[in-house]
């Protein structure tokens, strides 16, 4: 469960990049975070994960405040950043072992976990190479594998589908569904509206730092009383908010 309470943030004084954001993602829910470039998606995710401190408000992950009990809160989630270029000089296997050590993945399940995940994403044979030699998609995959190692309850992913081939993207979506079925939470940002429509239980649309819509796709259609496609609705919502 992720709870964002009255959060505001400005990089530059007087210009709010996030303006009084309130959001609650319940257990067992896949939440899609949509919005045009520069809307504030990455900024929000950085605050949820403790990379940025909110100027106002607080964020709770499984009831642990990221500002007040950072260590406890950080144990509750796995995070895939928007750039997959993580520690390019490490070999794949070294990177995964490093994360497993940090998150204290026990020795007996480690091997099985790493093998299972990397074989599923078809990067097992490349584990002995430096990540720098990986393609964009492969880098994305190893970061995702790293996150899933310790089975975090909350998944937070910033544009996880970019660069993935159709099969991997399909697999990831399947894993997200599976994860939620077990009562866990997935929060991810994306630009691919079809993914959001098919996969998410609810979506949030943010524009210029303000949340302009939260709810299911049907609710969105009802609200505007139009039987338009998600794309048309999205364009309409983000344009009206001038």
């Amino acid at each position: 469960m992720i709870k964002i309470e009255n959060v505001s943030k400005s990089y530059v004084k007087g210009k709010k990049s996030i303006d009084d954001l309130n959001l609650e993602i319940k257990n067992g829910e896949i939440f899609g975070f949509l919005g045009p470039n520069g809307a504030g998606k990455t900024t929000t995710i950085k605050m949820i994960t403790g990379i940025l401190n909110p100027d106002e408000g607080d964020i709770l992950i499984d009831d642990k405040s990221i500002t007040k009990q950072p260590l406890e809160a950080k144990k509750q989630f796995g995070f895939v950043p928007d750039s997959p270029d993580m520690f390019l000089k490490l070999k794949g296997i070294e990177y995964l072992n490093f994360l497993a050590d940090i998150y204290e993945v026990p020795n007996d399940v480690r091997k099985e976990k790493i093998e299972g995940l990397t074989k599923k994403f078809e990067i097992y044979d490349d584990l002995n190479s430096e990540i720098q030699s990986y393609s964009h998609g492969m880098r994305q995959k190893i970061v995702i594998c790293g996150v899933l190692l310790n089975n975090p309850k909350n998944w937070i992913l910033d544009e996880p589908m970019t660069g993935l081939d159709p099969k991997s993207s399909h697999d990831l979506k399947e894993m997200m569904r599976e994860h939620c079925k077990n009562g866990n939470t997935v929060f991810f940002s994306t630009h691919v509206l079809e993914v959001a429509e098919k996969l998410c239980d609810r979506v949030g649309i943010i524009n210029k730092g303000k949340l302009v819509f939260v709810g299911t796709f049907e609710e969105m259609q009802n609200k505007f009383k139009e039987n338009k496609s998600l794309e048309d609705l999205f364009l309409e919502i983000t344009e009206n908010e001038e």
Binding site: S10, Y11, V12, K13, K46, T49, G50, I51, L52, N53, L71, E72, K74, K75, F79, P81, S83, D85, M86, F87, L88, K89, L90, K91, I93, E94, N97, F98, A100, D101, I102, Y103, E104, V105, P106, N107, R110, K111, I114, Y124, D125, L127, N128, S129, E130, I131, Q132, S133, Y134
Partner: protein
Amino acid sequence: MKSKVLVLSKVILKNSFQNMETAKDVNSNKKSKSMIILYIFIFLYLAGIVGVFSNSLVSELLKIHQEKMFLGIILLAIAGFVLIQSIFSAINLLYYSKDNEYILPLPLKPSQIVIAKTNVLLVTEYFIVAIIGLIPLTIYGILTYANILYYIEMLIVLLVFPIVPVLISSLLVLIVMSFAKFTKNRNRFQLIATILILVIVFVASFAMGNTDSSPEELVQMVMKANGMVELVKNAFPTLGMAIESLTNINIGIQLLNIMLLIATTAIIYALYVLVGQKLYLKGAVGNLSSGKKNKKKIDEKKAFKNSTIFKTYIGKEFKILLRNPIFFMQCVLPAIIFPILIIGMTILGINEENNGQTIDFASMFINKTSIYIGVGILCVIQFFLMFIYISATAISRDGQNAIFMKYIPVKYIKQIDYKVMPNIIMTSIMSIITVIIAEILIKVDILYLLLILITSIIMGVFQSYILIIVDLKKPKLEWNSEYAVVKQNMNLIWPAVIGLVSITLLIILGIVFGNILNSFIFTGIIAFVYLLVTIITRNYINNNINKLMEKIY
């Protein structure tokens, strides 16, 4: 064509310097003003030290009518510094910089790219020249009552003289790197190439500096007013012209020499561009920084071992340091190479002047536990510490990955402890090497030496913690070449500042207490003081950790 080169140079330069001050700062205006004042202060301090040093050296040389030798020393130092520095810069700028990905597809001639990149190299070197050239030469002018012509020519010389060393290094790089495409492991190749070029430069400079004159001739030279400068004049191709243009009594010859200097430089530049454009694209530009691809699968028995966070974190730091050739060369190598190289060269140099007779250093110090030995060794170690950048770049080296520190469930202060570890280890190794060399040379009392070693290691720990504060306060996280972190980074003035302040303090304390205190007690007190400041520094980090980490996002 000209304007294209100019635009390209500007873009590359801007790009590489963009992060000298962080655009990210929230209230940047107020902060950057105080930063500027601070930098001016630091610059004045460095300038002051260079100034005092030059002043006393010129005065001494004037007494024995060898003041021209000073120009020889300074210009030679500039040539040497620029030569070595631009080996590193040239490799990185020409072959490893990320902007190649954008520049190479543009419709530009190879010659234009080479010229633009060389211009950038030059501009970078002028910063060094400004510090080690401008002030000493001005002081020389003042002390020798030079006229206005001297100062004009001085500026021309300082502008023109560093060009040839840059071209030489850059050309060597172009030649060696054109073999790069034949290698598989390019990271290792770069490392070997750099060390190879360094060796070439050192051997060549030794060969050139070796005057094959008999002892009598040498004596004659030294006896003649300003004869000593003849010793170094041929050590670098354009050095003679530069010195003559500044010092010849005949204005005509002065002007002739300055013209000669400019003409020679221009010819070498033209030749360089001619050869350079042919070599540049032949070398494996662009795809050099590919990672190591290993066909072999992982060893299933060994691959999945777990270890403590302490070990795994420090292991990760070391792996990135060692596998990245630029970080390795700029952060790790100096710790080992500098003591050996500099101490070795000094001994060689002294012995050469003594016509090959080895000096018995050991006999120079009768008292094996003298305070001055301790102060001397500590100062030398502190001097070497100024070139170890591991801690000063610990955060910046991670670049965009630095945010990793913030979302993993490991306490910040612990991560800082892990991050300074490589610096502590490397400075300790450096201390040990230096102390061993000192023991061989002057056979210091072994217990005393041990105390000095411990003190120097504490010095290294202090350095490690204080410098990570510098990096935390102004991390350089958005870079497009590793080079930007280890070279075009204003933070790296701090190791020098801290080093020079420490050395100044050590010397003053040594002079003040030299005759009062027992050397063991004296060194013990120094060690204790360093320990105290180290603890205070770490406490400061611990108490302000959240604030210090705010710049990482």
